[in-house]
Amino acid sequence: MSAQASVVLDHHLAECGGAVVGAVRWSGNDRRRRVGVVLRYRTEGRGDVDSDVVAAVEVGDTESGEGRFRLDVPPLGPVTYNGELLRLLWVVAVQIPAHRSFLGTAAEADLTVVPRGWLR
């Protein structure tokens, strides 16, 4: 059976230089692989894709479990953007096994990253 996971964010809005906090739950990790949570962005649109994992944390390696995580958003972004030629999207993803690539994504949650000071 393949591992299953879910991720819930405390807030779906985060500022540059701030943090994303949430909870993750997983099961079916029979091979006891490391479970990781990553914060990453990806572009869409007319240009070639830019993507990067900017923060990652491991939350366990048990067959099933749950845990909380905190991931730092870079101070210089980039911010979520929806333009004419390009879009930039952020997600928090649960990776089993923990990996910085897009392989092994068990669950995702969308996130909007805004400039610092935007939420005040």
Binding site: C16, L76, P78, Y81, G83, L85, P115, G117, W118
Partner: protein, 211 residues
């Protein structure tokens, strides 16, 4: 942070680029045309006219590029170098307003008579994509906002104060490998009887709201 002086020397760069590239491509085209003409005179055939189209395009295109390059160099000499002095560096926050000094150094006396200054804050998206083995870049202007400009109205001088006001609800600069958002201040100088001169000065809009 100390003030930063940004000079737009792109006209001069474009001038030299036009002369060099035009000279190279036009030169090759001309040499090929001459060799073709020599071969055609030795053994005339109508096919030479068809073959001559390619080097002719290079020759004409090269000549146009050289002329445009020389014009840009001449304009650079006549108009001078547009310069913008930003009080706290080129990094600006969202919602921030700074007063920058614009002046044009050098240039002919005629290009300094009764100048009229206008300025815009411009935002452009740029993306690069690969098609086959070639990289293509597409740029699109997505925002343009007129800025307040106060002419110094000094005799024999092109200078003024530009109020650079960055709106709070615009996208900040972004510089990724294939995708980006670039901001610039464009200052346009109009002098009667002289070509319009637009100086472009890159600025960085940070992803932070001004306090």
């Amino acid at each position: 942070m100390a003030e930063v002086v940004v000079a737009d020397r792109s006209r001069r760069s474009r001038g030299w680029l036009g002369i060099v590239l035009g000279g190279v491509f036009g030169g090759f085209g001309t040499i090929f045309l001459v060799l073709l003409a020599a071969a055609a005179s030795a053994a005339p055939t109508p096919w030479f006219l068809v073959v001559a189209v390619v080097p002719l395009v290079f020759t004409v295109g090269g000549a146009v590029a050289v002329v445009a390059g020389i014009r840009n160099l001449w304009l650079s000499r006549v108009l001078g170098v547009p310069t913008l002095v930003l009080p706290n560096g080129t990094a600006l926050s969202l919602g921030e307003t700074v007063t920058a000094r614009f002046h044009r150094a050098g240039g002919s006396r005629r290009a300094r008579q009764a100048p009229r200054l206008t300025a815009d804050l411009v935002c452009k998206e740029h993306v690069t994509y690969r098609q086959g083995t070639d990289d293509h870049t597409v740029t699109r202007e997505v925002r343009r906002r007129e800025l307040a400009v106060r002419d110094d109205q000094l005799p024999d001088s092109v200078s003024g104060q530009v109020t650079v006001a960055v709106p709070a609800d615009v996208p900040p600069s972004m510089s990724l490998r294939h995708n980006g958002i670039a901001w610039s201040v464009e200052v346009r100088v109009e002098v009667p009887g002289v070509p319009v001169d637009t100086g472009t000065f890159a600025v960085v809009v940070l992803p932070q709201v001004s306090r």
